[in-house]
Every structure is written in C-alpha cells, then in structure tokens.
C-alpha cells in the first residue's frame, strides 16, 4: 500500500517521528530509534562545553544524517529570537539542511507553547528559507495562521510535553485537520501505544514522541509497540471504521434458523 507521509515534498514510509532525548545511554537511544522504524528524528542544539568527553562518540556518529532525517529543535527557547538563532546554528551544523522543528515555550513548569512568539519566529524562519515543522497548541485558528505563514507541517500537542496524558482534546485536533492542508503531526503528550493509534485513527498524518518511549520501563519494547500502534491506527483510519450507534439491532449471526426455544 503506497501511503507515504509527504513533508515539504519529501516522502517517508514511517509516520512515527521520534526524539533522541532522555535515554539511558547512546546504545539505548540507537536501539529504540532503530526498533521504532522512525526516519525523522529530532535533535537538540546545545553549547559544546557541557561535559562531553572528546573521546566518546557524538550523537550524530551513532545516528548519522546519512541514515536519518535529522530535525533540529528549539527546545529550551522562550523567545522568537532565541529560536531563530538556534535554528540558524542548526542549519550551519547540518550543512545547510533546512527542515527544522520550531518550538517556543511559554513557561518551564507546563512547557506549554507560547504561540505569539512561535508565530513571530515562524515568519522570520520561513522568510529565511527554512522548512518549518511547528509545535503549537491545539488552537485551530493559530494552526491555520501558522500554515498561512508557510510552515510545512503543523504539530499540535495531545497534552503537555512529557505528561503521557494522551489526547485530551480530539475535537480540536479534528478542527485543525479540517482547516489545514499541510500534514498534521501530533507532538507531545503521547504516553502509550493506544494514544498513538487514537491519533492516527482521528486522521492525523503522523505522531512525534520522545518521553513515551524513553521513559517506558523497556524503551526498546515500547518503540516496537509504538511502531505497531501508529501502523494499526493508520490502517484503521484508511479502512473506514463502522459507525458508533446506541442500538444496533444488527447481530453478527443470522436471525433465521434458530432452534426452538424452551423459554416460555
């Protein structure tokens, strides 16, 4: 079945996008990412003197740009200016690669996005030729504005980053999908495989997650579950589910030819 995810003109077989943070070590990161089947993986950009051992391999040596589409993020940025600077550095670091993830946070406790700063950053980045996949709230008006600015994917949260609460407002996600033409990828708050399946059953184009896999007791096994969850949800969506009804009066077995009943 040819059902590829197309973002900014490029096709991907996997609709599961995975973050590379919070794993125990690089071996676990690599095993989980490979098991997930993800082709697009997010990375963060940080100062070079935060205790890296120069003799250790770096993240990009174990997850190279030749094998994965690396999506630099702006995690930890609270202003449009910082997000823009971070992505300019990321583009230079990745030899001109321009597909990026924009997120501008509003406060460190909830990690909720600051959509006003996000919009400002998106305008600058699109004007500078970046292909922006934008993390945002589930506000359908903001989502449409971000698409109009020229973002190549809209990534609304299911619930707060790292919360594992799953999809709290499927109605808003549906409103976003009705109004936006570019891919809608649920990002943040997925906790387990059924959450990912539900997102795909709603009609989302993909799911991005990090904590759900990294914070599972067995991350590699959860990565496998997530891969299947996303695939199952997508197939169920494409298959067209049966309607929900209060009464069916339509049993699955024939009503004719039932043996006579001893019931009076």
């Amino acid at each position: 079945m040819n059902d590829k995810l197309v973002i900014a003109g490029k096709s991907y077989a996997s609709r599961l996008l995975v973050g590379t943070g919070k794993y125990k070590d690089f071996a676990e990161t690599k095993a989980a990412i490979e098991t997930s089947g993800a082709e697009i993986i997010t990375i963060a950009i940080r100062r070079s003197n935060i205790g890296q051992n120069p003799n250790e391999p770096s993240l990009l040596e174990i997850l190279p740009p030749s094998k994965f589409t690396l999506l630099p993020n702006t995690a930890g940025c609270y202003t449009a200016d910082d997000a823009v600077r971070t992505l300019r550095l990321a583009r230079e670091l990745l030899d001109g690669h321009s597909l990026v993830k924009l997120e501008v946070l509003g406060d460190p406790q909830s990690l909720y996005p600051n959509v006003i700063e996000t919009i400002a950053a998106a305008k600058t980045l699109v004007a500078e030729g970046f292909q922006v996949m934008v993390y945002t709230s589930d506000d359908p008006i903001i989502a449409k504005q971000l698409e109009d600015i020229g973002c190549v994917a809209i990534m609304p949260l299911a619930s707060l980053i790292g919360s594992g609460m799953g999809i709290l407002n499927p109605w808003n996600l549906q409103l976003i999908m009705e109004r936006v033409q570019v891919p809608v990828i649920v990002d943040a708050g997925v906790g387990t495989a059924s959450d990912a399946a539900i997102a795909m059953e709603l009609g989302c184009d993909g799911v991005l997650m990090n904590t759900a896999i990294a914070a599972a007791k067995d991350p590699v096994l959860m990565a496998s579950a997530m891969k299947k969850g996303v695939e199952a949800g997508r197939e169920a969506f494409l298959a067209g589910r049966m309607p929900k009804k209060l009464y069916s009066a339509s049993p699955s077995s024939p009503t004719a030819g039932i043996i006579s009943s001893t019931r009076s």
Partner: protein, 70 residues
C-alpha cells in the same frame, strides 16, 4: 597593542592570544573535525571561514553541537 584579548565563549570569559583565528581556537578546544556550529556576536560564522577569521577583543561566541532531544 595588547598581546591578549578577552573573549566570551559559551558564556565564559577567556583570555586568548591577540590575532587568534577561529580555526586555532576550535583546535585548542578539541573540537577540530567535530560537527559544530559557531555564532559570533549574533552572526553565524560559516565553517569555510574559520581559518581566515581572527577574533577581536570582547567577541561573544556561542559554539554548539547536536545532542539528544525531543
């Protein structure tokens, strides 16, 4: 003319020889051959210019690498 300049690197003040190039600084920091990006006073410094660019007094540098993140 001073033989030493003070430059801020990733938020820390450092004394460097006057006329030091970006390339020799990167070398001295053990980052040669690593995938990095550098911003000087708010502007990206392309890797192709590292050997030619000399730092100045009070330059503010951010040197970054890719790390794991969501």
């Amino acid at each position: 003319m001073s033989t030493v300049i003070t430059v801020s690197i990733n938020g820390e003040a450092r004394q460097l020889p006057s006329g030091v190039t970006v390339a020799s600084l990167i070398d001295e920091m053990g980052l040669a051959g690593k995938r990095i990006a550098l911003e000087r006073n708010g502007e990206i410094v392309p890797r192709s210019t590292f050997a030619a660019l000399r730092l100045s007094q009070n330059d503010k540098l951010e040197i970054v690498v890719a790390v794991g993140g969501g």
